[in-house]
Amino acid sequence: MSVRALRPYGLALLAIAVALGLGLAAERVGLEDIYRPLFIIAIIATVWYGGPRPGVAAVVAGALCVDYFFTPPRYALSFERQDFANIGVFVVFALVIGGFAARRRRVERDVHGALDNLKKEVAVRTRQAGLLDLTHDSILVRDLNDVITYWNRGAEELMGWTAEQAVGKRAHELLRTVFPRPFDEIHAELLRTGRWDGELTKTTADGKQVVVASRWSLQRDPDGRPLAILDTNNDITERRRREDDIRRLNAQLERRSQELEASNKELEASNKELEAFAYSASHDLRAPLRHVAAYAELLQKTAASVLDERSRRYVSNVLESAKKMGALIDDLLAFSRIGRVETRMTLVSLGDVLREVLRDVERETAGRDIAWKVGAPLPSVHGDRSMLRLALSNLVSNAVKFTRTRPHAEIEIGCRNGPSEDVVMFVRDNGVGFDMKYANKLFGVFQRLHLPEDFEGTGIGLATVQRIIARHSGRVWAEGVVDGGATFYFSLPKP
């Protein structure tokens, strides 16, 4: 037996010893019959605090002490008949008291057990309620009168009221719920089927409207009577807003695409008009011009002898202007053709194209001192061969033209094949160059940086280059110094 188990018995012996001591002391001062209640108190105390078994031990020890110390013959264990009666009454009394004490202890134990269970239950429930607080959903419980009885943290976060503020209020008054159909209908459905779900609009504590996906479940008591409603809500305001946005954007897109279609049709129509215009210009505009030039030339030939110097100059000016205008029309038509004609994309070797271009300019450069420098093998690109040839030809002719004043011209054509996605070609010359201040004017139609008597030209060549390169998703730019040469670049996507 452990020490802990022996302790009640020790208590019993101690109580009896105390009762004995007090009894003997009382006897000394003449209080002879007080020992009996003292032993009874000791036994009650033992039973109360130590339990029935130590109580029995106390009864036995008490009976022996009474017999030994107080009943005659004193200081001897002798059991007379009268002693048995005394001891019997004493024992019965002690047993009754012990019985009460034991019962009390049992009751006490039961109460303690019940209390412990209750505490455990409370702990479990508290944990579960805590879990409800963890969810992002807003959960509330309301009774059949719509009065809130539970309000989780999600509800607090979404709606802005604390549980203390919300519990006890009527839910749909507090939340100013907007129902998609009459509340009575919804409630009837809930009572009939036990559940309902739908989208509701509610208003938060700070007056903001939120849209929630709401799910209601009806709780019934064991007899099937409705008790309460569990009301779970997800905030779908953001989702709804996005959906609305998407709907609105879609509508916008639809409208835009209709507009685009309309403007495409317009564009198509105006392209057709442009086509007709260009065609007509090609035929009809050139014809009278040819006539002017031709008759002026005939006049020069037939009337040269009768015309004076001034008249001859007039005729010559007529001729020159007509030719100039012919060149302008031709260039403009070529320029507009780039926009109108479909590109025929193939893999084009820029090296081959350049060779053709150089062969063509040979005639223009006869008798001039030009040092041509062509960079290492030029790359191939995806593009429309004839357009790229025109672009390269314009740039090379440009270089030839603007180096005309140089006794020794240098023209370099090459490729700067960097790590980028583009092929960069350049045409560099040591000609008259240009002021970078006007670099933005270089590629405009009819934009010229030189006087016509210095350098002839229509002002369309570089615009044509730009248009061609733009149609190939590339870029053109130029660098130059007045009297220090110019470099024209264009980039094309690598094939």
Partner: protein, 151 residues
């Protein structure tokens, strides 16, 4: 001037007619040029019908054809020449103001012998006409049924 074939000039513009004739005259090619002013007249001449019912039945040595013509345009005339058994061997030179690719492509598809864009420069035009006239009306051996050159 002998030794030359007959040239059919199909041209609506009087100044162009004048200038073409002037150019041909420079090289003594102006004789025997028959001028018609639109596509219908050209086809009438070629088929020897209408006003030309009574003409001699030889084909011209060369047709100089403008494309933009009243009533029936040049391409239509060319198509009809090429689809007619009796006419299809006649050399046809398109002489036009148009630099448009599509006209040129269409002309070659229809089997034109040469396509000349009339230059603004008159003497270039004269050179072109001379070369054409000399080649088609003088040097080129005309197909049977044409007015043959007596060289």
């Amino acid at each position: 001037m002998n030794g030359l074939g007959r040239i059919l000039l199909v041209e609506d513009d009087p100044k162009d007619i004048d200038l073409t004739l002037a150019a041909l005259a420079e090289y003594n090619l102006a004789n025997e040029v028959i001028v018609v002013r639109d596509g219908v007249e050209a086809l009438d001449y070629l088929h020897a019908r209408g006003n030309y019912r009574s003409r001699a039945r030889e084909n011209p040595a060369v047709v100089l054809l403008d494309l933009k013509l009243p009533k029936v345009d040049g391409l239509e005339v060319l198509r009809e020449i090429r689809s007619d058994e009796r006419l299809k061997l006649i050399p046809v030179v398109v002489l036009t103001s148009s630099r448009e690719d599509r006209d040129m492509v269409a002309s070659y598809k229809l089997g034109v012998n040469a396509y000349v864009v009339k230059p603004v420069d008159f003497h270039e035009f004269v050179n072109a006409v001379k070369e054409l006239g000399v080649f088609w009306a003088v040097i080129n051996e005309p197909p049977p049924g044409s007015v043959a050159g007596r060289k």
